[in-house]
Amino acid sequence: MTETRVFEYTRGQVDEDDPLHGEVMRVNMGPQHPATHGVLRLVVDLDGETMCKVDPDVGYLHRGKEKTCESLGWRKFFVHTDRLDYVQPLTNNIAYAMSLEKLAGLEVPERGQTIRVLLMELNRIMAHLIYIGTSSIDLGAVGIFFYAFVQREQLYDILDAYTGHRMNNTYVRMGGVYADIDEDVAKQIEAFLDQFPAKVDELANLLERNRIFYDRTRGVGTISAADALAMSLSGPNLRGSGVEFDLRKQQPYCGYESYYFDVPVGTVGDCYDRYLVRMEEMRQSCRIAQQALQRLKENRGGDFIARDRHYVLPPKADVHTSMEELIHQFKIVTDMRLPKGEAYSAVESSKGELGFYIVSDGTSDPVRCHVRAPGLVNVQAIPMLAEGRLLSDMVAIIGSLDFVMGEVDR
């Protein structure tokens, strides 16, 4: 390891010789600001260049998703889950489907589970590539953005081939997924995964030996393990602080317990640690996706969606020929009821724990659908990370916390 000099500004340190010292200036960062990754507004009180108080203001993208669910019904809300964290739509679909399945007591067949794992890992890679691209462009490394987005574009092509859409795929249904992954798509994914680890190394080579990136992220936005726990951080932001907790390992779902992968953790919890954690997570996601793809090859022809006629639409061909299937389709589309009760189910998304809490009274009208958005919790931690540091560090901190306002504001 080469020696590095870390510029360390301790919390609350103010330059006494600054002619503006003592005069607090209020600066509005956002809601239209390229570095706030969406419509986040930060009200920052500055003493000289040091931020003495930070007040995040969210809600500019509030679309009332939770209220919308109550009037749309359980099935139609799937479309809206894509638009929460829109850089990983399929993960949102799956998290929502899992809470519905928990309440309905519906089992997903093995092939369906494997496809879901594959989709979630591809989505994780896509989300982390956005993080790498945007957080480094904020720090002035414009080239990285293009390297990351070339890879991301390939994943879009794959999802386009599989689902017919680049974004907002809505390809997950209760009981499984809408369609099987065919051989052409599997080959495309395989080709992508084969070249991807080398591309991650390339990105790492560009950033990890980059003087500017080092100095702007190391020791910046540090959060201790105890503070991260107290702020309920989850996912890479928590693991960056050295807490080893990954839902995929600790409370597995979709059969994650049967895959080989490692969970990277940081040591000090600064922006650089969070960066390292996400880079390694992309390599691990690639490993999981390769295993899932192998299983799909071995288990060709299995069911990818449950055979259940209370919640799962019958195949279209059968609807046209069988009266019974037509009735099933009609009942599911017009009046799909979930059993009375409430359920909370969570997945490890690229931002942290993404959970859906749903309440049903036994009719087809949802009583409540609440989204536990990891982004909201991440934004809540900004003042803790930023106060006492320079305004220019804010850009690095926002980038490293990795949130999407669509999910924060809902």
Partner: protein, 172 residues
């Protein structure tokens, strides 16, 4: 620990305000009206001892709930006289979860804040307050969070009526 283990431990630790637990159960085939209940098991807590209950959950060695994952509320029906306040707790050390619920009378709809037990509760409580009109007593920052400061009414209540316009912008 599984749910029963956690519940027994809560009983043994004399957690303040612990009322009962609610487990999912199958319906009675003889009684057509009894559908049973699906989903998660949860514990019911008296809103008068709300914060103390969570202090026990956090401090008890064997429960060890370090994180408040989620806090939300539910308005079960227009004519129901209670809100539900729902909390999801997680213990990273013991790898277990607990769902907690309090039945909070809509009038006056006041409950203690958890911000002093779990710092992360702050924003969740702000959201609940604006969406349901619940007052979290002792909250350090009781402003609106997602809605504009001058928004009238509590949108997630079942008796909410959509406004016709907002500052000259038609909402219809």
């Amino acid at each position: 620990m599984d749910f029963q283990g956690i519940y027994d431990r809560l009983r043994a630790a004399k957690a303040p305000g612990l009322l009962d637990c609610d487990l999912p159960r199958a319906g009675d085939p003889a009684d057509k009206k009894d559908q049973g209940r699906a989903g998660d098991a949860f514990v019911l807590v008296d809103p008068a001892h709300w914060a103390d209950f969570f202090r026990t959950c956090k401090q008890d060695e064997r429960l060890g709930f370090e994180q408040l994952i989620d806090l939300s509320a539910t308005d079960p029906a227009k004519d129901d006289e209670n809100f539900w306040v729902n909390v999801q707790l997680l213990s990273l050390k013991h790898k277990h979860r607990l769902a907690v619920k309090a039945l909070l009378p809509k009038d006056p709809g006041r409950i203690a804040t958890l911000a002093r037990v779990y710092r992360a509760a702050q924003w969740h409580e702000r959201e609940c307050a604006e969406m349901f009109g619940i007052t979290f007593e002792g909250h350090p920052d009781p402003r609106n969070i997602l809605l504009p400061d001058d928004w009238a009414g509590s949108p997630l209540r079942k008796d909410y009526e959509f406004p016709k316009e907002y500052h000259g912008i038609s909402c219809e």
